[in-house]
């Protein structure tokens, strides 16, 4: 069976070589994502996780390499196959939650008669029934991300790409959202790529976690989390969770150090900071 997403030797460079703002964001990355799998991408800031997600979604053409989604090469947005949830929710502030969901389907080309029912179901699925006619500005950060998720779910794509969707939220909100997401996604059988900074989030949600190296990023290792969905809150307390989290931390720590030391030199003497 062909994988849902097949990434082949993708490299990306922002700006031309020799330019001042030339950044090598991604280096020779290859990876397959199986159908129905939830893959988390984790790595230091600026390692190219989001770049890879945008390449997979057809929002960005890679400098070299290629991506196939559902067996077809990606050459631009594929709204019928791929839906996005962005970090900054990207809801239209002048539309209510319901209108936002409706508009997504309208862009995608869903017939008007079908949209109302699908919007209602998606909004109920994320628990925003009472807030369907609120504007994004009237909602909390967590609710806005739920609304963005409802918009993505209503598109009924096989693939969902989530770019640090809970990145701007507080720890407690993201815990609850993570639990709800696990329940929701277990029922939909979607293929999901989920970019995150949070080790706990990655282990809690993912079937596999791909760890990125420091910039220019490439996939350093892939760790499998063998735990059925939907994940229970008790999973967080289990020894298995802790072990995986520590394993991930060990892999990541070195890369984060590299990133940080590239940005600022460590203090020269131990006493310098006191």
């Amino acid at each position: 069976m062909i994988p849902a997403i097949s990434i082949r030797n993708v490299s990306h460079r922002f700006g031309a070589e020799g330019q001042a703002r030339n950044v090598r964001a991604l280096l020779d990355t290859s990876l397959d994502v199986a159908r129905g799998e939830l893959l988390c991408l984790i790595g230091p800031s600026g390692c190219g996780k989001s770049t890879l997600l945008n390449v997979v979604g057809g929002l960005l053409a890679p400098t070299t390499g290629s991506v196939e989604v559902l067996g077809e090469p990606v050459a631009g947005p594929r709204p019928r196959d791929i839906a996005f949830v962005f970090q900054e929710h990207a809801l239209f502030p002048w539309n209510t939650v319901r209108e936002n969901v409706d508009l997504g389907m309208r862009f995608q080309g869903v017939a008007a008669a079908e949209r109302a029912g699908r919007a209602q179901r998606a909004i109920e699925a994320v628990g925003l029934k009472e807030f369907a006619d609120h504007f994004p500005g009237q909602l909390s950060g967590g609710m806005r991300q739920r609304a963005a998720l409802a918009r993505a779910l209503s598109l009924q794509t096989d693939i969902l790409l989530m770019d640090e969707p809970f990145g701007a939220l507080d720890e407690q909100t993201r815990m609850i959202l993570g639990e709800d997401l696990s329940v929701l996604l277990a029922a939909t059988k979607k293929t999901i790529v989920f970019v995150t900074h949070s080790l706990g989030e990655a282990v809690f949600l993912a079937d596999r976690v791909a760890v990125f190296s420091a910039r220019p990023g490439t996939i350093k290792t892939v760790i499998a989390v063998d735990e059925p969905h939907p994940r229970k809150p008790a999973f967080v307390m289990s020894e298995k969770f802790t072990k995986l989290r520590n394993q991930l931390y060990a892999q990541l720590h070195e890369e984060i150090r590299k990133t940080v030391s590239a940005e600022s030199a460590p203090p020269a003497t131990p006493g310098a900071l006191s």
Binding site: L59, P77, I82, F84, F86, E88, F92, W94, F107, G109
Partner: protein
């Protein structure tokens, strides 16, 4: 050092404003009745009041008001339409924005009222030169705000719309236009105000009819009381129009 102050209530502010106006009126009255200021230079406020009542009662202002409002409507229609269309065209390319935005901003900073002699030469003393001036001056706030509105749309929203398959029409109708609309509307309100100012101003300087023209005529005919009444009338009309436009803007914004 000042001690801690309580914020003054709305009523207190209104009372102080009323008192200020009352004092101005009182000084004005005393200047004309007791202090011997010439009635040609400064008419008695009571005479002005009588003149105002007579102006309103007879409706003699109607022909001039009609001329001024006609000029304003045409000028604003021209500047609003051309400002939005040209502004949208400029905003679609960052190159054009960088070329034209500073140009428009610089031109708007010039006292464009200086164009009056030129426009009178080109379009004559009638309404056409007033319309041309009003349209020219009010074009700039509309076009500048339109460029700003359309070129500062959140990129994340455009990306999100594209990822969901939005066509060019979808993008314009559901993302760019709603994002830019409040900014364009603010530009239009500003444009309306400056169009009104420049039209009345140019009527004062060189014209055959209109409210500004009538004021000059009264001044030259040595009818200061009536002239003052007309000035008050024009101020009231301008305030009323600006108020109406602000309310209209607020209403459009809400719906």
């Amino acid at each position: 050092m000042n001690g801690p102050r309580k914020p003054a209530g709305r009523a207190a502010i209104l009372a102080t404003q009323a008192a200020f106006i009352a004092i101005v009126l009182m000084v004005w009255y005393l200047a004309t009745t007791r202090w011997g200021v010439s009635r040609i230079l400064l008419p008695n406020p009571i005479a002005v009041w009588h003149a105002l009542v007579s102006v309103l009662w007879t409706g003699e202002y109607l022909p001039d008001l009609r001329v001024t409002l006609f000029e304003l409507a045409i000028a604003f229609a021209i500047s609003a339409t051309s400002g939005v269309v040209i502004g949208y065209f400029v905003s679609r390319s960052s190159y054009r924005v960088r070329v034209f935005e500073p140009l428009f901003a610089a031109m708007y900073a010039v006292p464009l009222i200086l164009l009056i002699p030129l426009y009178v030469l080109w379009f004559g003393l009638g309404p056409a030169s007033k319309i041309a001036l009003g349209a020219t001056i009010s074009f700039f706030p509309v076009v500048l705000n339109t460029v700003t509105g359309f070129s500062h749309v959140d990129r994340a929203l455009v990306t999100a719309a594209r990822s969901m398959g939005a066509s060019d029409y979808h993008l314009f109708r559901f993302v760019l236009l709603p994002a830019a609309f409040p900014v364009i509307l603010a530009g239009m309100r500003l444009g309306f105000t400056v169009a009104l100012l420049s039209i009345i101003g140019s009527e004062v300087l060189a014209s055959l009819a209109g409210l500004g023209h009538h004021i000059v005529e009264l001044s030259e005919n040595m009818e200061p009381a009536r002239m003052f009444a007309y000035v008050g009338f024009v101020v009231a009309i301008a305030a009323l129009l600006n108020f109406a436009v602000s309310r209209l803007e607020a209403w459009v914004r809400r719906s």
